[in-house]
Symmetry: C4
Subunit: 239 residues, 4 copies
């Protein structure tokens, strides 16, 4: 493992961990402070949007700030024939770092609020509307990321991705998990943002379907890759 | 139909569809979570602002990210004598894609929340204050877009247009539809964001009046077109 | 009157008018939708921040997007010995356009909501804490604007000024009018955002004191003017 | 003391003062307008995020806009072997200006709202969850700032730092003070944002631990300093 790969794994572990801490922690705080369900979700969504944007800005130079196995998978597939290519082993290691970070982030949030740490959630999230929602939210996420990459505008990714997820909390029925690593992390908290382990596989499958659809749509609309992004912008997805 | 036109139609269909899904879906979620009418509209307006900005960022390179027949009309009229010109047939096809996307987006949002799909709204929205509001909201929208285009600053369009619509939800009495395609899409949901089909024609007429006024004002204040926008920014309106 | 001056006056009239319409209109809507006083002010402040940012972006190229007699006054004084200089008559005309626009904007908002048009407010706003608040809010506003101008970074002015005013709604006791033209416009509405005509002179005097202080502080910290802003950014204040 | 150092001290004093005024003042206003605890904290967090971003934008050119002794300490340590280096005495003077400004800002906010000025807070904030929260919030803050500096992207610092702190109000249990100078200032208000003097030392110690950890993590992930930031961006941290 080279130093560069090591730094990338550290960035993906830390970034995904802080992202889950933001999601879970703000859910705990909002739940404890109000009984209004819309105000709780408004806090959760705005805080996630702000936190996600900052984390992408911070960790992008160290290797893309994916924080999401489906983004890494799309990046690996689309980058195979470019100079951005990296090995399947590195992609797998990145995904492992994301999942480990997500679990650590859930534990960190619960510890900060004095909650039980690493207890499985009992919040069932099931049914066709929620799964359709995950398809739509994840399709849109990949559509945004792949399009920005293929048009050489990844400098817009931090705030655009934050805004997309912030909006998708509300316009989908599932509050837009859209991320298998984050979904796994959220199975291990008994608080507001949790999801029962039994509900996770269908969520992750729906996310994979959506990611495939969104990536294909982006590639169809933008068949030719633009020039690479300027050096100072994050290379979130290779083209 | 060339590949480029096909991609533009796909972008306008998908973008307008997701925009209406954002508007309708967030309205359903907000209504189900709180009884406070201001909190509902705050959610609806902030989510629309974020979602609209991301969608413009994402779809602009494929053909302008108009999502709005009045923006396309202004673009077509103002671009006739420039190298941005395109045929009346292409403009009409773009508008058809926008309307079809808007209807699809309303259906998608209702499906995600398990609501009746493609049922006509029974929410009447009538009266001079609401029509004056649509004139003002749409005039301002075109003033913003045409001015940014004519001063070579369309790179600001995504967040500026999102912020304008987000603000206009509140400072107008109509919650600022400001878009005939979106208005048609919103006739086909029985939820919070719906508008009765009978109320739509007057809304659309008021929007057309406002768009004309806003475009003329922008052209009057900026009679000479600036240099074209840099290559990496969306050409939202030809000059 | 040259065409350029005419366009500047049109921009200042329209921009200030829409700004007051945003402030007054969102206040009416928020008041009608909730009884929670904090939610009302949150709506009013966020909508003003978004609206103000868009309006500055839109109208800056036509002559600075001041919308505020104290900004125009500071610009005129600081620009006298530079190539940005313009006549005292032009400055006076700009201020008249701002005041006329503000009055028109209040009337427009009241008309959009079916309220009495151009009726004087009966909302007294008096006392040392409120006047100190106006000093602080206006000092900060001029500190931000003059500093961005003197450091060649006026491209940041739209969102920075919007954020400053949005924040100042809350951290001052007066909800931060910080603008004599807007203050005059707000004397002519009986709604949430109004101010009784008898309270206006002291507000305006406090604003003038704050503007003087903020401008002097900015000039002290940045005694040398930086290079002019790039051509595509608004020249909000001459150096 | 050279003129440049004097201007830097004036900027740090004023900027930190206005930051504390924003935090304390918005807390007073929110508390007076609603009984909903989540709405109070939402106002406090959003207003702080907006205000902090503007203040960094405004004061960065005069010397970095640290407003935080731990940021100054990290900057001094990391900058020792670069051309950004400055004396230990200057760093100490900057920190004194920050603390003095923070105290002044608390007094200013209380004066604007007619509250007792410079009275010690009686709000105890203690316990392991809160101290862990301060470690996490401050580690993340330094991670963001040092990373942006070492990757030559300090132009993103204003909005990124604002968003980080705005999010950390919610995802930590301590509402994220993350700043020793601000913590000291907040001991001197009896209002919502106050902290009892007896709780401050442990908070500050936790912040120092977090800052050390965050700085080391950023330096580990980005061992080589990038090219200096472009001239028009704030040099928030030397490399």
């Amino acid at each position: 493992m080279t130093a560069t790969v090591g730094r990338r794994l550290a960035a993906e572990f830390t970034g995904t961990g802080l992202l889950v801490a933001v999601v879970v922690g703000s859910g705990i705080a909002a739940t404890s402070l109000t009984t209004d369900a819309a105000l709780r979700l408004l806090v959760n969504s705005l805080v996630t949007a702000m936190g996600l944007a900052v984390l992408i800005l911070t960790f992008a130079p160290a290797g893309g700030a994916h924080f999401n196995p489906l983004v890494t998978a799309a990046d690996w597939v689309l980058g195979r024939r470019t100079h951005h290519r990296y090995s399947l082993g590195e992609a797998a290691a990145v995904i492992c770092a994301q999942v480990a970070g997500a679990i650590g982030g859930a534990a960190l949030a619960d510890a900060m609020f004095g909650q039980a740490v690493l207890s499985p959630s009992r919040t069932g999230r099931t049914g066709p509307p929620l799964l359709l929602s995950e398809v739509v939210a994840t399709a849109g996420l990949l559509l945004v990321i792949v399009t920005l990459s293929r048009t050489g505008r990844t400098k817009h990714a931090p705030w655009a991705v934050g805004a997309w997820i912030g909006a998708a909390y509300w316009f989908t029925a599932s509050t837009s998990f859209a991320n298998p690593a984050v979904t796994i992390g959220r199975t291990l908290t008994t608080t507001y943002a949790g999801i029962a382990p039994g509900s996770a596989p269908a969520f992750i499958a729906a996310q994979a379907v959506g990611a495939t659809f969104g990536t294909l749509l982006a590639v169809t609309i933008h068949p030719v890759t633009s020039a690479p992004a300027p050096a100072d912008t994050p290379a979130q997805l290779a083209g």
